[in-house]
Symmetry: C2
C-alpha cells in the first residue's frame, strides 16, 4: 500500500502536534508515513499568505489554541523566542540523512520539532541543527558539510517544488492515496479515510 | 449554565456544516446554543483577510474539503453560483425575529443555510431572504419592513462589534464559558471541553 505523505515545515507548531501521532495512525492501518519537510515560505511567496501567528486576531487565537491542544495531548509546549524561524538548515539535514537512513532522518525531525516546540529552543540556525544532530549521534562536521552540499540544496528545492505541485500549502498537510487533508485538526478525517477506504 | 455562543456568517459553508450538529452537542451537555450570525466582511476589512475560497491553493482545497466533509456527515452540499454573498439581509431578518421568538429565528437561520449550501440557491438578496422567511410562515411585508428598520440595522451593527470585541474572526466560531474555538474542525474539542469542563 502507498505510504501516507506527511508534509510539514519545521517552523510549524501544529506540525509538532501532528508529529506526536501520525506514525501511530499509519501503523494502525498498515501504512508507512513518509515525512516530507518543505518550506512554507515558498508558498507564502506565491500566495501572499502570512504565518498564522503574525496575523491580526488569528495570531493570539492560534497561540491559545496551540497551548490548549498540547495540553489535550499531554505534551509539553513552548514557542521559541525566535519564531517563526528559517527552517532551511533543518530541512537540508533531514534530506541529507534520509538518503541513507530514513528512520534516522525521521528521528532527527522529531528531535528538532521537540527542541523547537517542546522546549522552545531555536532550531533555525545551522549551528542549532548541528547540535541536535550531534545529540542524535551524527558527526557535526558531516552535518556542516551536508548543509553546504549543492546536491542536498538541490534535493530540498526539488522537494519544495514537488510539494507545491501536489497542491500542498499548509503544515501539517497529509496526502492519503491522492486525497489531501490540511491541518492538525483534520487528522481524525485522515484516520477515518484510512479505516473506511474513503467515503 | 451559560449558553454556548455559536458565531457564524450566513455566507460560510463551514457554518452550514457546523449548524448540522452544534445544537445536538449543546443538548448532550445541558447547554443552550445561542446562534449569533455576524458579518465576516467586517473582520476582513479590519484584518485584510480574504474569503477562503478566493485564496490561491487554499480555495480549491476548501471546495474539495467542504464536499468531502458534507458526504461524511451525510448531508447535501452545493455552493451557490453567487458565492461568497452579502449576508446583511439574512442577519437582519434573524435579529428582527429573535427579539420575539429565538426558536423561530434559529429555524429561519437553518432554512437559510440549507437553502444556500444544501441546495446551492442564493440567499444574499433581500427578496431571497423574504422568500425563505415566507416558507417559514413569516409575512413577507413584515420581513421587508424589518430589513429596512433602523433599529434592526443598529442591532446588527452592535452584534458585529460585539463579536469582534470578543475576538471572533472566523465562521463557525464557538465560545464556551469564555473559551474560544475556531472552525468546524474544532467541534470535537468543543464537545470534549463541555464533557470534561476544560483540561
Amino acid at each position: 500500500m502507498e505510504p501516507i505523505d506527511f508534509y510539514f515545515d519545521f517552523s510549524s507548531p501544529y506540525a509538532y502536534l501532528a508529529a506526536q501521532g501520525i506514525d501511530e495512525i499509519g501503523a494502525r492501518h498498515g501504512r508507512e508515513v513518509r515525512w516530507r519537510p518543505y518550506l512554507m515560505g515558498a508558498v507564502f511567496k506565491r500566495t501572499g499568505a502570512r504565518p498564522l501567528v503574525d496575523q491580526d486576531m488569528k495570531g493570539p487565537y492560534a497561540r491559545h489554541d496551540l497551548a490548549r491542544s498540547a495540553r489535550r495531548l499531554g505534551v509539553p509546549f513552548r514557542l521559541p523566542d525566535d519564531f517563526p524561524f528559517m527552517s532551511v538548515a533543518a530541512c537540508r539535514a533531514f534530506y541529507w540523512l534520509t538518503e541513507d537512513d530514513a528512520a534516522a532522518a525521521k528521528a532527527l525531525a522529531k528531535a528538532l520539532l521537540d527542541k523547537a516546540f517542546g522546549q522552545g529552543e531555536a532550531v533555525g540556525p545551522p549551528a542549532a541543527v548541528q547540535a541536535v544532530a550531534a545529540e542524535q549521534g551524527h558527526d557535526p562536521e558531516q552535518v556542516a558539510a551536508a548543509l553546504a552540499d549543492p546536491a542536498v540544496k538541490e534535493r530540498l528545492r526539488a522537494e519544495v517544488d514537488a510539494a507545491i505541485a501536489a497542491g500542498v500549502f499548509g503544515s501539517p498537510f497529509f496526502v492519503v492515496d491522492g486525497e489531501p487533508f490540511w491541518g492538525h485538526d483534520r487528522m481524525d478525517h485522515v484516520e477515518q479515510w484510512l479505516a473506511r477506504g474513503g467515503w
